[in-house]
Symmetry: C2
Subunit: 330 residues, 2 copies
């Protein structure tokens, strides 16, 4: 079983997952490729994955291989569902068992589809799958946070090219999430307004960093973007919990997500990217100061080497320029 | 001029450096290569770099091209020395001019040398150059922090292969540094001991995560390593400021750094890596709770995609395993 360990200086938890263990020789960077024939995520190859947790099928589907979307446990999970946390010290340090959940959302039966080439309907089913899995996993009181994310393309960390997302349920709130929620709380305490609501309003007024919007959502390049073409998508209406999303909101979110990804793929020639849903911690519901959103980070530069260790980002593309290029792309 | 912008939620400053601007097409990942002929860092090619800030030469050297080490301004600086900070608001946001310094330390005249193949003496001169530049730049009261770092190899963000380090002097304390200093302060307030001194003592007692040591320094894989083969080097004796390093300490540090890099190059086959010196903020001197150190991060995995945005790290190699392999490599 993997282990969660806490850095004694800055309090960050990391997962030491040597079950997935690799020897020094094993650190080859994959091309994220893989052909249809051997793809474990393609229909007909279900036997190569762990048994599905849930799948979306048409009522008329007759075979287990006829599905529109499938959720499975990760075959090489970073965290395991079975067991106790067993929080304990080890000399001056703190650790606990690597308890959690690690699931894969296979987003489409079609091997070569990506978000930008799917139908809005298909993207909507992905959003609904995220929601359904969070609602289900929240019942497990050991979990403090659920991180939904997607690695797409060889520079993103993806090891399989068939379009998929992942979620990890953790028994701690990740440090970066805690900072964001606390930062938003400080702003709320001072202004008595949600900082993300203020960002949405400000950006829609100023317009220079807005990429596109629809009735319910706005996509924008944030003022202090860390990465070239970094993009956030926020609900216009305050809501701290992604999993409260209603079906019509999911449809609206899917539509703008697909549109944004089409713009990114066009302007940047199908780059590798990561996206994450920033959501409130599971045990802090209906916060006035927090506002869920999605962050999309195209992986364009490796220039950022030292930034891992310093938290100090140099972004060579102003968000206003990035937004303009994306806005004008069709 | 570039601009420093503050994220309104979590308070992180980023450099928006569109002077170095790139168009969407420009985001090709370089191979970090480049031949000797065209290398601007090779002796004889001094005219291709900005005028040197300082250089170490033998007393007998007769030509400007006979140097052992050279420090130059970065030709494409992320921050500029000239100008005022001009802190100001922009609608709901905070920003200031991109004032700072961005220098390159050309570590050796020999194009194909790296730390592990240099002499201890040459590595010592690199350490002394870091010290000298920090001492000099500290006189500029606009600066709050100086970040010394090295990107080595194509996966590190390096764009030139000739061995070099960089330093960036910033008018703000980077967020990650502030967190580390504050975390160490919290520990000190509670325990009345430096957390890094405790780590050094603990690791030398336990031994499993120690890679090597000499009289003055220890190299270890930290308990909560974020990355496979992450490695920290700490002075055994408490000291908060790197720039106080004495000549004999620099020699000792150079010796263990060269030894550690030789181990890393051997075990991991000359991987790309980043290293950083974590030092105290310039205006907080002789802290009882902070302890300078170097962090080395081999760039082995791209698996970490979403970690940029979540602060949630999954490390597939236990630090005890990494330390054992490195310890045994000669």
């Amino acid at each position: 079983m993997s282990e969660l360990r806490k850095d004694p200086v800055i309090g960050r938890w990391v997962i030491i997952s040597s079950d997935r263990g690799k020897r020094p020789d094993d650190f080859k960077v994959g091309d994220g490729g893989g052909s249809h024939d051997k793809c474990p995520f393609c229909p007909g190859n279900e036997k190569f994955t762990p048994p599905e947790i849930v799948a979306y099928r048409d009522e008329a589907s007759k075979s287990p291989s006829e599905w529109q979307l499938r959720v499975i446990p990760n075959k090489y999970p970073a965290l395991s569902v079975e067991g106790d946390l067993n929080r304990q010290g080890e000399s001056m340090y703190d650790k606990m068992n690597g308890i959690g959940a690690h699931e894969i959302i296979i987003e489409t039966p079609e091997h070569s589809k990506c978000i930008s080439t799917m139908s809005d309907r298909q993207v909507e089913s992905i959003i609904l799958a995220y929601r359904d899995r969070i609602v289900d996993l929240k019942k497990d009181i050991r979990f403090e946070y659920i991180l939904v994310f997607k690695n797409q393309g060889p520079h993103s960390g993806a090891t399989l090219s068939h379009s998929h997302s992942q979620l990890i349920a953790t028994p701690v709130v990740p440090k970066r999430v805690r900072e964001e929620v606390n930062g938003a709380k400080n702003y709320y305490d001072y202004k008595e307004r949600c900082v993300f609501c203020d960002i949405v309003k400000n950006e829609l007024d100023v317009k220079t960093r807005v990429v596109c919007e629809n009735e319910l959502f706005v996509a924008l390049c944030p003022f202090a973007s860390r990465f070239p073409f970094e993009l956030w998508m926020l609900p216009k209406k305050h809501d701290s919990q992604f999993e409260d999303i209603q079906k019509e909101e999911a449809a609206s979110f899917a539509s703008i997500l697909r549109k944004v990804m089409a713009k990114i793929d066009k302007v940047l020639n199908k780059p590798s990217y990561n996206y994450l849903i920033h959501n409130s911690p599971l045990k802090e519901s209906r916060l006035l100061h927090y506002h869920w959103h999605m962050e999309i980070m195209p992986r364009l530069t490796r220039v950022a080497g030292f930034e891992w260790g310093s938290g100090f980002y140099i972004n060579p593309v102003a968000p206003e320029e990035a937004a303009k290029v994306l806005r004008e792309a069709d």
